[in-house]
Amino acid sequence: MVENFSTVYIAPCFSENPAGFMENPFSIRVVGVAKRFGDVAAVDHVSLDIRRGEFFSLLGPSGCGKTTLLRMIAGLEEGDAGNIIIDGSDVTRVPAHRRPVNLVFQQFALFPHLNVEKNVAFGLRYKSGGKRDSHKKVSAALDLVRLSGLQHRYPDELSGGQKQRVALARALVLEPRVLLLDEPLGALDQKLRKEMQVELKHLQRRLGITFVFVTHDQEEALTMSDRIAVMNAGKVEQMDSAAEVFEHPSTPFVAEFMGAGNFFTAKVREVDGAIVTVISKAGFETALLAPNAPNYRPGEKVRFVVRPEKLEMSLTEPPPADARARMEVTVEERVYQGVATVWTVRNRAGERIHVYQQNVIHGAGEQFVDMGKAWLCWDPRNAILMREQKA
């Protein structure tokens, strides 16, 4: 793999680590890593580069291999193939306790026989110079996670959120170059979860160290991450910035997983540079912008996706002057959610479509009746073309 050093990347806080920046813009490089459990390929030859100081998320459904990959970076799982490089040195054969990364476990894994202070101080004795001022370092770490004053409590005397903070302090006190987090918010309730998301993000900004975060929650990943790798069945489907993954999913799986949901079957009619004109199964014609257009051939079956919030619904057909794409649908169901109303409608091809409509004014959408006709329109730039591959 050829490194592309021309990629200019400025770490949000590279000033904290200038030497590291000069050496190598990558915090972690995963090269062709694979791991099988019996017949199942948990991680299937994955390669990815995680930049220094970024908040990087591994996102995917359970069983997609994201946790296994994280555990391999931590050194808790041995790979079958590939290399893991941390800060430019190959650590593939380095055992977990000698790697400059630390992990925050899903169920926190606090030592039940040690109090908070001793839990946090646990790793200091293995770090050169760690034992010096260990008391001060522990206090500082606890301050950092806003948990001062609980030094003498035992894990079973802490709430879920407090345990979470101890687990975080215990890893951060060792000043790891990379902090790995394995669904650390999974055990918390909804409200606390939201708070911790913001707090973790702030913490990461402040410390400027690389965070690698595993989650199955797309919203969580979007909220916190600089970049996201969406994983499925042991492979990385797409690796991009949060906005890019959300707005421009590159595969049907990513589109589906990011909640896009509205798939339309179509056939390519004409390819003109980056503009691909397709005829949908529902009968209408629309031109789409596809950056990789030359790959498409006329007559090819394709799909395109439009996110529910990009659709606009009206009772009458928009005037022809309106450049937007449109289709006629039948209204089937409305679900009032307070902030918005989600409509389920069906087009002539029988494709089910969700429409997300902000409730801007009271009584919005009352003009639509069940089983009545309506029109959907959208900006063609918001439709994403993709190949008819595995769903």
Binding site: A96, L103, F105, A109, F111, H113, Y126, K127
Partner: protein, 260 residues
Amino acid sequence: MKSVGRTILRTYSSAVYAFLYAPILVLVVYSFNQSLQTARWLGFTPRWYAQVLRDRELIESAGNSLLVAAVTTVAATIIGTLAGLGLSRLQANRGSATKALLFLPIVIPEIVVGAALFTFFVAVEWELGFWSVVVAHISFSVSYVAIVVRARLAGFDRTLEEAARDLGAGPLGVFWRVKFPLMLPGIVAGALLVFTLSIDDYVITSFVAGVKTLPLHIYAKLKVNATPETNAISTLLLAVTIALITAAQWLLRSPRGRKK
């Protein structure tokens, strides 16, 4: 209606507790009875205790028992703990031979085990003495420690081990700073069990003893008659047992004080 059922159950349970404790209470009370022959209460006297403490044979047998129990406890605890550790490392479907081996001494009647050990010592011409008792006791105790320690480790959260490794602890650090402290209550419980079983054992010891242990001494006396002196010995032994259990509880108390 419900409260009637409650009252009946409570009264009934109290009666069963009385059944469990009455004999022990009787022993203690009658160890202070002046009467030598009958259970008629003839007044309080501590003289049976004085007599017990002058009983050279008794003191000697108690010394033997303590020594046997001490050696047995140390050896069986070490061996059993290792076995528990080894078993906990195996997958659930492995090590069934070892599990069966550990299970047998517990379920086979003591009388059979005692007879077999006696036969063995005669067959290999091992003279019955102190060590024959010790090895017999170790062989029937190892299982208990192994099972208690293994049960303790079965509840052990593997991610704690991983967390320790992740925080920089090597194999030794993981063992002594995480695994061992969490196993310790199991080990102590196992050791306590072994000590109690060893110091109390009569059946197997009666077959292999070359030295007189306390149960042998008490048994010989009980067989003839329950006397105030045997009651006094029993009461003393009870006191020692209770002291031991209390000490163990105190040692095992959770460090955080207010936790149950």
